[in-house]
């Protein structure tokens, strides 16, 4: 610490994962806010406790599980006291005292004292050779013992005990697991899965004594045997107690903080002393203590936010899942497994293959899941459970896994990733294979989706493989990967999610970008290429006619009103209403193409003509010529209404039932110019033969003899998704009203860059139907809001620019030779 450091002081007691994660989150928010001091009782730097089991099993080295070395502390100007246990805190003087007399004054204190193993007070429990399984020191003791000794007894058949037993067996010891209950991991598994697990571990060479109580540990100067209450004795050179952990609250109790099982904290991770925060396994939050890593990371994020004095964000508690880290045995458990009158059970059992799956449903939502033998769908079930997604539509296939949903599903494909070979291409845009990603996660210690994107480029372009990459992270890191929260922050500039920012804009009356940055504590002075376009959209949607569109916060395509091409030229797509044109229009396009020497003329999938390879400075003049022929912008470049694709319908087609072309033109005249969270495509087909491919559009109309079917949420792009049927109406006017209301709902509710297909999968078709089909008054209001914002949106951007608006955007600077000076004054 610098001598003249005037910054407030943060002292952290506990150099474990929770404490350091909180510090890392804090450094991200306000790197220089505090002078930070860390006390750690262990003589190591900060390591990943979750991975102790693989170290014991010889699958990882100690170096591989170190998180932050000494250099990290130095780099961030953090004073680290390793191997110094804190014994006292003077809360009045705000002073921390360690057992060797080291003191540190604080303004904010963070307790992250973790948990300690429960040691059963059996006779002989203090003999040398009786240990817990908690830290690197225990692992070293076990490894040493395994080199010279033969017999090990592990007391406790839970997650930790089995991992310890497996590790010791891998090191060549004869291991017996003693467990009080009648089945293994009874907290996470039901008896059925516990039995399968037991048989599989027995086959590997573990011995089990279930329903068996240890009476004493025998030995004189060192452990020799274990005696059960039946009187039976078995030899033991090493006894590992793994019967549970309890929050380490000793220091907190000594200094008078309110504790029950753990240190009591509120939703901001504050203890009863406002200057003292606590995170991790030592805390008790809403009656819950956690012993897993994911909750601790969520706590760290919230705690850091409050330490940074942003004061936003609450920790609502965590839903957790567990996975046994025993190589070759797949066990997954999540949620509440208790079976009550109002829960339903779905069970799949194939004893010969060693596969067992049990799901508990309550109100058509997953409440708990146990998987044995095939855990590929664990992440999927967990997501369905955490997001409380109704599963009635999936029920028929639910137990068979996500891969059985077929290709029509738009959701991600977590279930498939585990089975893929290393050479399987995960990211098609950037050509990144599974093996490359897995290797990078290991070698570069990548922990999040953003890390993987930065280092491998996977998932950084179109994003369609995001689910696969997340599944790879989860599979590679096991319990180490904190499930990406259901909602991620918009970008690294903020910890707020799209939904939170969106809600804050009207709620706090934020009318421009600076106000958003200020009110929500953006970390960067003016955002980045990810958040600025999103904020610009949200502001535009919240304050139509009032918010002034910020050109510099739009992607170049929307600023230049054309699509940028790989060589820096642009493409020009004039609007052709409903895909209908005339000889005169075609002649005008031909003349423009020749006049500006357009290298490529192409017909698009949306029934338009694309003029490719136009120099940017030619755009306004070209638009002027096109405008003279009656054309306006086709918005082929925008997060906006793109095209209304039609078939010829009853006017010409012998099968046509309605005037699909005319209806398409009416729809396009109503919706053009509207800005939406992502691009929006409409199709109108004149009969169920569906020549306009309406059922893979964001909104599709299929005409039938008795009226018009409206379909929504289709996608023909990254992942083909067939539309859902929304409703049927009888007149064109009703189609217009439904369309306007639907688009408005999408504009108001979807996150920026979320197409209608994933949006509908997220909020559910029922929600959309309720909002615009069943609620006539609500529909009318949405439609009115849509029409109101269209009044200011339907201004042709091409005409404005052809008339000279935003000229600097299209005019390069041409320095003249005369504009030289020699010897610039300093």
């Amino acid at each position: 610490m610098k001598a003249m450091d005037q910054r407030p002081r943060l002292v952290v007691v506990g150099n474990g994962m929770a404490g350091m994660r909180t510090v890392e989150e804090l450094l991200k928010l306000k790197p220089d806010m505090y002078a930070i001091t860390v006390f750690g009782a262990e003589p190591w730097g900060n390591y990943n406790r979750i991975l102790l089991s693989p170290v014991l099993a010889g699958e990882k080295t100690v170096d591989e599980i170190m998180l932050n070395g000494d250099a990290w502390y130095a780099e961030h100007d953090i004073r680290l006291h390793k191997g110094r246990r804190v014994t006292r805190v003077d809360r009045r003087q705000r002073l921390v005292v360690a057992e060797d007399g080291t003191t540190a004054p604080y303004d904010r204190l963070l307790l992250a004292t973790g948990s300690e193993p429960v040691m059963l007070p059996l006779p002989g429990h203090e003999l040398p050779g009786v240990i817990a399984f908690r830290d690197l020191h225990d692992v070293e003791t076990m490894l040493q013992s395994s080199r010279s000794d033969k017999n090990a007894v592990v007391i406790g058949g839970g997650l930790l005990g089995l991992e310890a037993a497996n590790g010791l067996m891998q090191q060549g010891m004869q291991v017996t697991v003693v467990h009080l209950a009648d089945s293994l991991m009874e907290r996470q598994l039901d008896a059925e899965a516990g039995g399968l697990l037991q048989r599989s571990l027995q086959a590997r060479g573990l011995d089990f004594r279930l329903g068996c109580q240890t009476e004493a540990i025998l030995g004189e100067d060192r452990v020799r045997a274990v005696r059960f209450d039946t009187g039976e004795e078995i030899p033991a050179d090493l006894v590992v107690m793994a019967v549970g952990i309890r929050p380490n609250t000793r220091l907190a109790r000594d200094i008078g903080l309110r504790c029950e099982r753990g240190i009591l904290v509120d939703d901001t991770l504050q203890t009863f002393d406002p200057a003292i925060y606590a995170v991790g396994e030592c805390v008790q939050h809403r009656g819950q203590c956690y012993g897993l890593v994911a909750p601790l990371w969520e706590q760290a994020r919230v705690c850091a936010n409050h330490l940074a004095e942003y004061g936003i964000g609450r920790y609502p508690g965590s839903i957790t899942s567990t996975k046994l880290k025993v190589t070759g045995i797949d066990v997954f458990s999540a949620g509440d497994l208790s079976h009550a009158a109002d829960t339903e059970e779905l069970v799949f059992k194939d004893a010969a293959r060693g596969v067992y799956k049990r799901l508990l449903l309550k109100d058509n939502r997953i409440q708990g899941a146990v998987l044995y033998g095939d855990t590929r769908d664990g992440a999927w079930y967990f997501q369905l459970m955490r997001d409380q997604i109704p599963v009635e539509d999936l029920r028929e296939h639910l137990l068979f896994g996500q891969s059985q949903l077929g290709d029509a599903g738009h959701g991600d494909e977590k279930a498939r990733v585990a089975a893929l070979p290393d050479r399987a291409e995960i990211c098609g845009c950037n050509g990144v294979c599974k093996g490359t990603i897995v290797a990078a996660i290991g070698a570069k210690k990548l922990l999040s989706l953003d890390d993987v994107r930065a280092h491998t480029k996977a998932s950084s372009s179109c994003g369609s493989c995001t689910g696969l990459v997340e599944a790879l992270l989860a599979a590679t890191l096991g319990g180490d990967y904190s499930q990406t929260p259901a909602q991620r922050p918009i970008c690294a500039c903020t910890e707020h999610t799209h939904d939170a920012v969106r809600a804050a804009i009207p709620a706090q009356g934020l009318k421009n970008m600076a106000a958003v940055f200020q009110a929500l504590g953006w970390h960067t002075p003016n955002g980045c290429h990810i958040c600025r376009p999103a904020l610009n959209y949200y502001l535009l949607a919240a304050w139509p006619g009032e918010y002034v569109d910020d050109a510099q916060s739009r992607f170049i395509n929307e600023r230049a009103h054309g699509n940028i091409q790989k060589d820096g030229t642009y493409s020009v797509v004039p609007r052709m209403w409903g895909g209908v044109t005339t000889p005169g229009e075609l002649r005008a396009i031909a003349e423009v193409a020749e006049k500006y020497r357009v290298p490529t003329v192409k017909v698009t999938g949306g029934q338009r003509i694309d003029l490719l390879g136009v120099q940017k400075e030619d755009l306004p003049a070209m638009w002027r010529d096109l405008g003279a022929a009656g054309f306006v912008s086709g918005h082929a470049y925008g997060k906006a209404l793109r095209t209304v694709k039609t078939c010829v319908g009853s006017e010409w087609c012998r099968f046509g039932t309605q005037d699909s072309t005319g209806l398409g033109i009416r729809l396009e005249k109503m919706t053009w110019g509207s800005w939406t969270p992502h691009k929006f495509k409409i199709g109108v087909s004149g009969c169920p033969r569906n020549c306009a491919e309406a059922t893979i559009k964001d909104l599709g109309v299929v005409c039938v003899d008795s009226g018009y079917e409206i379909h929504v949420g289709g996608n023909g792009g990254v992942k083909v998704r067939v539309t859902d049927f929304l409703c049927k109406v009888t007149t064109e006017d009703e189609v217009l009203e439904m369309t306007g209301a639907y688009m408005q709902l999408y504009r108001e509710e979807a996150r920026y860059l979320e197409r209608t297909a994933p949006w509908i999968e997220r909020v559910g078709l029922a929600h959309v139907q309720q909002s615009i089909v069943e609620d006539a008054a609500g529909r009318a209001r949405l439609y009115q809001r849509f029409l109101a914002s269209q009044r200011v949106a339907q201004i042709d951007p091409w005409a404005e620019r052809a008339a000279g608006a935003a000229a600097e955007e299209f005019t390069p600077l041409q320095p003249e030779a005369g504009a030289w000076i020699k010897a610039v004054p300093a």
């Binding site: 960067t524 003016n526 170049i556 940028i564 600097e808 041409q814 320095p815």
Partner: protein, 125 residues
Amino acid sequence: MTALRICALEAIPPLGARVVRTPDGDIAVFRTATDQVFALRDRCPHKGGPLSQGIVHGAKVTCPLHNWVIDLASGEATGADHGCTHAFAVRVLDGIVWLEIGAAADAPEGAERAAVARSVQAGTG
């Protein structure tokens, strides 16, 4: 040290850029929210994308083609990407932006600057 007069500072939108055409290729001149001005060769080190068309944030610009983020002062790619585009010295005096094209600097840079200077003179003089 000689310098080439580019434009008034106001001619560049804040958090925006203008392109300076030279016979040897385009130079992008950027203006940040705090009125700092930077100049880079208008080619992303990744696939040659026109950086002048990107979104400017802080003292960085994001390439419009594949979202590489380039540091405006050094021309270096940031994050996990590697690559560099040429950075030109630029200066604002009394609200006028000047591109410095000196004879100093190391050989390749000097050569490039001299070439730009020659070509600008030849091209329009």
